[in-house]
């Protein structure tokens, strides 16, 4: 008896320029999150390569991947995934502390939190703030190390429409302000308005441009 091999992604080839705000869209199960995990080095492709800043990330060992994730990538998750044992400020500082560079980190973290509108919440435990506030803190955490790419997996998927709108605007303004590359996986295409690039994943294949109009979207 043989095993059935499922290809979550196949022939997905595209490039993203620095400073671009990119949406990855597609129906449920199309392979969007798998693609994001590959870019985020949380998963390894069985074949093919992922280049970030000219580095072939598929050749990195476990320690190098960790360092790469820390310095070059920022993550924003659907459920914010702040560490509830830490305060908002400590959560934002964490990637910097993991990287081992602490000089001026706290000042930068405070400024970032101020720019996402959380200056009054910095000393609160992460589980004592609202979902929208937590997501804003997660954005600040994703930006603290000034990564090459910020990867956001359904960042508004757990928020009401008003808060979602605020989060989208925040991400877009931060992208513009910091010339920061954002790659966002989302079902909520309409929330994002104009973006620099849209990549549609369909049956594991990547197409540039919004091709979701003739697809059934399952939110």
């Amino acid at each position: 008896m043989g095993e059935n091999q499922v290809k979550a992604l196949d022939n997905a080839s595209f490039s993203i320029e620095k400073g671009e705000f990119v949406l990855i869209v597609g129906s449920s199960g199309s392979g969007k999150s798998t693609l994001l995990n590959m870019i985020g080095l949380l998963d390894r492709p069985s074949s093919g390569k992922v280049f970030i800043d000219g580095t072939d990330t598929t050749k990195l060992n476990d320690n190098q991947i960790s360092s790469f994730r820390n310095k070059k990538l920022g993550f924003i998750f659907q459920f914010s995934n702040l560490l509830t044992d830490l305060t908002v400020l400590e959560n934002v500082l964490l990637p910097r502390q993991i990287g081992g560079t602490n000089s001026s980190a706290e000042q930068e973290a405070r400024e970032l939190l101020k720019s996402v509108g959380l200056e009054s919440q910095i000393n609160k435990r992460a589980n004592k703030i609202s979902g929208g506030q937590a997501q804003r803190a997660a954005i600040a955490r994703g930006l603290i190390n000034r990564p090459s790419i910020v990867l956001a997996d359904e960042p508004t998927g757990n928020l009401d429409s008003v808060t979602s709108e605020l989060i989208v605007q925040l991400m877009k303004s931060m992208a513009k302000k910091l010339n920061q590359t954002f790659v966002v996986v989302t079902h909520d295409r309409q929330h994002f308005g104009d973006v620099d690039k849209i990549i549609t994943i369909k049956d594991g294949q990547a197409f540039e441009g919004d091709q979701t109009s003739n697809m059934e979207i399952i939110a």
Binding site: D62, R69, N70, K71, F77, F79, L86, L94, G99
Partner: protein, 395 residues
């Protein structure tokens, strides 16, 4: 503060149930060892103390020829000019048959141990006189002190009663004398002269026809740690005599050997108890790791290396070990202080001789701290094996 230590601390302190459970496991492990030590080592030391105080002193001098014929005054004076010596006294032992009429009824006891003492010197070298529950210690040649058990066997002999004693002398002749009971001796735990009759050594010498001889010489030191030194000095001073000098450890070895191995076994059981607390820590930390799967995944995704995750959970082991060792040592010391201050004894038996063995206290604390860290290694290793993408899926 180092972020890994802060995270370890926060994760642990926010799971108070797990923290208390793990700390209790370490605490109980340490407490078991302290309690074992206080009771069993305390009992051992109490037996040594009583043998030393009542019978053997810190150094016991005997003669290969059974009896010491050197003048007891000369020997006592020789010892007492050594600054470490508190007192030295001769002792002579025999056994007797005792007849006593109590309430018109003749009571006879045979083979009762008799100890002859020098009442003046004995109070300096022995605490036997402190066990007198009624009356006085041996005051003259015609009085005896009855051990509590002997008095009971004689139908409740009391101070002032008269009794007749028969001792067979060195030539096989019966020597019979009448004595007045001067006192009744009763020691805590019955380790003193409770089963003996105490009389003046010169009277016993007369009855045994062993004028000027002693059975042994009991030497009490004000610094027992100098026993070996004093013993060697004594043997060197009398090279032409056939003296045997033994420290308390040597003279009581026969009585203590079995007890010593018993203590070793009890200690072993204590250490097994400590091992089982290490298993409790492994279980609790595995639960902590399982409960923090998402956090581990998040940390890995934002750049934490396996080593960082390992360090966080080892820090947790260190925190558990440090608090557990602190609380356990404090509890153990509390129990030790209580036992010492109350002169703890069980069922009116021998009062424990409780000492603070700081080396053992520190060794126990360090061992439990180390065990807590060792116990945290496996859960920590398991935590590092979580793949970030898998860990994130558990959300």
């Amino acid at each position: 503060m180092e972020y890994r230590l802060r995270l370890a601390k926060r994760m642990l302190f926010n799971k108070k149930g797990s923290l208390i459970g793990a700390v209790l496991a370490v605490t109980i492990g340490i407490l078991v060892i302290h309690v074992n030590f206080v009771i069993f080592q305390g009992l051992f030391d109490a037996i040594v103390r009583d043998i030393s105080n009542y019978r053997n002193g810190d150094i016991l001098v005997t003669d290969e020829a059974d009896y010491i014929d050197k003048s007891d005054v000369a020997l006592a004076n020789w010892f007492e000019r050594i600054p470490y010596v508190q007192g030295a006294t001769p002792r002579l032992s025999s056994s007797a048959e005792i007849n006593m009429t109590k309430n018109g009824k003749l009571i006879e006891e045979t083979r009762v141990p008799v100890v002859g003492v020098d009442p003046i010197r004995d109070v300096k070298a022995s605490t036997a006189h402190e066990t007198i529950a009624e009356g006085t210690y041996v005051i003259n040649r015609n009085s005896v002190v009855l051990g509590n058990n002997v008095a009971r066997d004689l139908g409740g002999a009391q101070v002032g009663d008269s009794l007749k004693m028969l001792i067979v002398d060195r030539y096989g002749e019966d020597q019979i004398r009448r004595f007045t009971v001067a006192g009744i001796a009763k020691s805590p735990g019955g380790q003193g002269l409770d089963y003996s009759v105490v009389m003046h050594i010169d009277t016993l010498r007369d009855m045994m026809s062993r004028s000027g001889e002693s059975g042994s010489f009991m030497v009490k030191l004000n610094d027992p740690s100098k026993a070996f030194e004093v013993k060697e000095f004594f043997l060197a001073a009398f090279p032409n005599d056939d003296f045997i000098a033994e420290t308390i450890e040597e003279s009581a070895e026969e009585q203590l050997a079995g007890f010593r191995s018993g203590i070793a076994m009890i200690n072993l059981i204590g250490y097994f108890g400590m091992m089982s607390s290490a298993f409790a820590i492994v279980t609790i930390q595995m639960m902590l790791v399982n409960g923090k799967t998402r956090e581990i995944g998040v940390m890995r995704s934002i750049g934490a290396k396996r080593k960082d995750i390992l360090v966080i959970f080892i820090f947790q082991g260190m925190i558990i070990g440090a608090i557990g060792a602190g609380v356990g040592t404090a509890a153990g010391l509390g129990y030790t202080i209580y036992a010492k201050e109350t002169k703890m004894s069980f069922m009116d038996s021998i009062p424990l001789e409780v000492n603070y063995d700081w080396e053992k206290i520190i060794q126990t604390a360090l061992m439990s701290f180390s065990l807590a860290i060792i116990a945290s290694l496996y859960p920590s290793y398991r935590a590092t094996k979580l793949l970030p993408v898998e860990a994130m899926r558990t959300v």
